[in-house]
């Protein structure tokens, strides 16, 4: 910035003073000699005196305007919360490192073996996720759009986006715009094919009837005698398919009977399933009893879980089963992997691949059964009594993870963290609400997933539920820590109590026999405390804890009035 040369010390005689000189005089910034000159001049010059007075009054107007209080202190400033911004970068590195380790462990321990098993059972790549979870009734594009890691990547990007724009998202209007935009995006995503809805006590698709597109059907008795040229989503007490479905069949059904043809896959949760017809592709079924009749045929693999499984018909590829009792009398074109109490392989059975059975008893295998190789049997062992060093090592690692999770939560929401821990102190209310939320939200989310409410709402609620469950250990740790060390709501002392409490909780939940129940109680208690704190936050009567700051009195130490001189 260029600074102009100024000379205010000697105002010219017989001439009006410039505004700069008068301002400096009013603000007592002139030296004694120059100030005397201005004083003498203003005694004889009305114009300069008026301007001097105006400048003085302008100063007072500015001070008064700035001092006037027209808005209260914001809620988040009502109390001091030390933000954990500085010197915390290492924490984030540690958190991400641990998260990466956790993801790897999750993948190596659970996902990879499952993937292998599912590949053997006829599923490939990430098809399971897309088929089971994301293949919604209204937009089939999910299946091709999302893979597991794509979903994770999108979630991470969304989180980063929210973090980057958090300042703007504080405003409700901005948040509303974002959510509206998301809603519009979901609404604009048009279905690949039209969906027809049928709802009645008894629904029948007649023999000569052809439905072009998907069918969404609910009712007590549902019969499909005609043809559906698309997928069928069924929620019924009884379902009988004697016609033809050219797509997949998905549903939750009490009694399901397929005597016709399903060209695609069958994915169902049912009490009883009987297949006497043909399923061209794979079957995934969780039920009480499952029967593949001698005339029944599954083109690809069967993945089944249930009490009683009877397989007389043909399975084109692999069988993956979890059951109490299973009898195989038909043909299995691939391998068999099974886990259960009892497996019988009768004389008419033919298994073209390996047979592995992990069960309580040795399988009954008929000498006349045609097997590609002898059954590989392994007895189920109860390992919970013998805990290895690895178990305790992972308990320690996860305790560290929970502590870091607690640090992140406390750092991000210090005030809410304190409120939640205080809510956990009210054990009765927390437990009561916890039972409601633990079961209620979970069931409601599942219902939302399988009804027209939609997968998006259902899965979002489930994720929130899971997050609350994870945070519950930290919350209960916080109150236990306060019981041990006393109350303190300053950041680090508070966090220290969380650390001590989480360690104590983890020790209790590691005790054999009672640990599981203790963990369950902690989950309910913590979820209840979080819900209670949220409930209180949303109560309008409790919200204005913010002190409305009145206009300070004149003699208040802050800020002092501006002094102007010279008149």
């Amino acid at each position: 910035v260029n600074e102009p040369e100024m000379k205010h010390d000697q105002p010219p005689d017989n001439a009006c003073l410039d505004e700069m000189t008068l301002l400096l005089y009013a603000e007592r910034q002139l030296d004694r000699e120059a100030a005397q000159g201005v004083s003498l001049h203003t005694q004889t010059c009305a114009r300069c005196l008026t301007l001097l007075r105006a400048l003085d009054r302008e100063s007072r107007l500015l001070t008064r305007s700035m001092l006037e209080q027209e808005e209260p202190l914001p809620a988040r400033l009502a109390e001091f919360h030390a933000q954990v911004k500085r010197n915390m970068q290492w924490i984030w590195g540690l958190v991400f490192g641990l998260a990466a380790l956790g993801v790897y462990e999750l993948y190596a321990t659970y996902i990879a073996p499952w993937q292998t098993q599912l590949n053997e059972a006829g599923f490939t790549g990430n098809n399971l996720l897309s088929l089971v979870v994301f293949q919604g009734a209204f937009w089939k594009g999910w299946a091709s759009m999302f893979g597991l890691f794509q979903v994770l990547a999108v979630m991470v990007m969304a989180g980063a986006g929210l973090f980057a724009f958090r300042r703007y998202l504080r405003r409700g209007s901005a948040m509303a715009v974002v959510l509206s935009g998301l809603g519009v995006l979901l609404a604009v995503a048009s279905p690949a094919t039209a969906t027809e809805f049928r709802k009645s006590d008894s629904v029948t698709i007649q023999k000569d009837e052809v439905i072009k597109g998907d069918l969404f059907v609910t009712g007590n008795h549902v019969r499909i005698e005609g043809e559906v040229d698309g997928d069928v989503y069924a929620f019924a007490e009884q379902l009988e398919v004697s016609g033809r479905i050219n797509g997949d069949l998905l549903g939750a059904i009490q009694t399901e009977r397929i005597s016709g043809v399903v060209e695609g896959n069958v994915r169902t949760a049912a009490h009883d399933v009987t297949i006497t017809g043909t399923v061209e592709r794979s079957v995934l079924a969780w039920n009480d009893s499952f029967t593949l009749d001698s005339g029944g045929k599954i083109g690809r693999s069967l993945t089944v879980g249930g009490d009683s499984i009877v397989l007389d018909g043909k399975i084109g590829r692999d069988l993956l089963g979890f059951f109490k009792n299973c009898t195989i009398s038909g043909l299995v074109g691939g391998s068999v992997r099974a886990r259960g109490e009892m497996l019988s392989i009768t004389s008419g059975a033919e298994i073209d691949g390996k047979t592995r059975f992990n069960g309580h008893k040795e399988p009954n295998v008929s000498a006349d059964a045609k097997l590609a190789s002898p059954v590989e049997f392994s007895k189920v062992e109860h390992k919970h009594e013998a805990r290895t060093a690895g178990y305790y090592l992972w308990r320690i690692i996860f305790t560290g993870a929970f502590i870091l999770f607690g640090l992140v939560l406390t750092g991000l929401m210090p005030r809410f963290a304190v409120e939640t821990v205080e809510s956990a102190g009210q054990m009765g209310a927390s437990f009561g609400l916890g039972v409601l939320v633990f079961f209620g939200v979970f069931l409601a989310s599942l219902i939302a997933c399988v009804t027209v409410v939609g997968l998006f709402v259902g899965l979002s609620s489930l994720m929130l539920w899971a997050l609350m469950l994870m945070a519950s250990e930290v919350v209960v740790g916080g109150i236990v820590g306060q019981w041990i060390m006393g109350r303190d709501h300053e950041f680090w002392p508070f966090f220290l109590r969380v650390v001590v409490g989480v360690i104590a909780v983890r020790v209790v939940t590691s005790v054999p026999f009672i640990g599981g129940w203790a963990g369950f109680a902690v989950g309910i208690w913590g979820m209840g405390a979080i819900s209670l704190a949220l409930y209180r936050r949303l109560q309008p009567a409790l919200a204005p804890k913010i002190p409305s700051v009145p206009l300070p009195p004149v003699n208040t130490p802050l800020p002092p009035n501006t002094t102007v001189g010279g008149i």
């Binding site: 910035v1 260029n2 600074e3 102009p4 100024m6 205010h8 001439a15 009006c16 003073l17 410039d18 505004e19 700069m20 301002l23 400096l24 603000e27 910034q29 114009r47 300069c48 008026t50 301007l51 007075r53 105006a54 400048l55 009054r57 302008e58 107007l61 500015l62 001070t63 008064r64 305007s65 700035m66 001092l67 006037e68 027209e70 808005e71 202190l73 914001p74 988040r76 400033l77 109390e79 001091f80 919360h81 030390a82 933000q83 911004k85 500085r86 300042r167 504080r170 303190d488 300053e490 002190p547 700051v549 300070p552 130490p557 802050l558 800020p559 002092p560 009035n561 501006t562 002094t563």
Partner: protein, 185 residues
């Protein structure tokens, strides 16, 4: 002073009291200096975090409020500078233009007619440097030396910054052209 001394020793209760006593004034300072309410909230929080770290450096022989405002002013100006908003919107091109001296009676009339709310609205329209200078001088009563130090200008230039800020303010109040009839004298 006892409160400050106790807060310096790490007394959390004293720190809480100190915060509650001074937070409203500092928030108001930030609200006047910063462009948005969210910026003001962030700035207030960060100023008190900074204060807690620096409290041990406080020289008890000086005015605490003046010291606190100096921290606040420095922090707000740093924030504005980080937001690349340091250059006043008119600073570079109008700097060389001589200011017209207002007609005294019309200036008096303008001041009489304007309310505090109108002035605050007009302040929001000013460039960052102009607003910051006015807030430092007329809200927190900072000296020319302190203002020069905070804004990073020579002391002799502070008067010019303040005068130009006043002219900007008058213009924002919508009366500048009517007032500037006398020309520079």
């Amino acid at each position: 002073m006892e409160l400050i001394a106790r807060a310096r020793t790490g007394d959390t209760q004293a720190w809480g009291d100190l915060y509650r006593e001074y937070a409203p004034a500092i928030f108001r300072f930030c609200r006047r200096a910063m462009p948005t309410r969210e910026d003001a909230e962030d700035a207030t929080m960060e100023i008190f975090m900074k204060l807690r770290d620096k409290l041990v450096q406080y020289d008890a022989s000086r005015s605490f409020t003046a010291w606190l405002y100096k921290i606040a002013a420095n922090h707000c100006w740093d924030m504005l500078r980080r937001k690349k908003a340091r250059h006043d919107k008119d600073m570079d091109d109008i700097e060389e233009v001589p200011l017209e001296c207002p007609e005294p009676n019309q200036l008096e009339k303008l001041i009489e007619e304007r309310t505090g709310e109108e002035v605050r609205r007009a302040l929001d329209k000013l460039g960052m440097r102009a607003r910051m200078a006015l807030v430092m001088r007329y809200y927190s009563d900072m000296s020319y030396d302190e203002i020069a130090d905070a804004l990073g200008v020579r002391r002799q230039f502070v008067g010019v910054v303040l005068l130009r800020a006043r002219h900007e303010l008058r213009q924002a109040l919508g009366e500048s052209s009517a007032l500037a009839v006398g020309g520079a004298r």
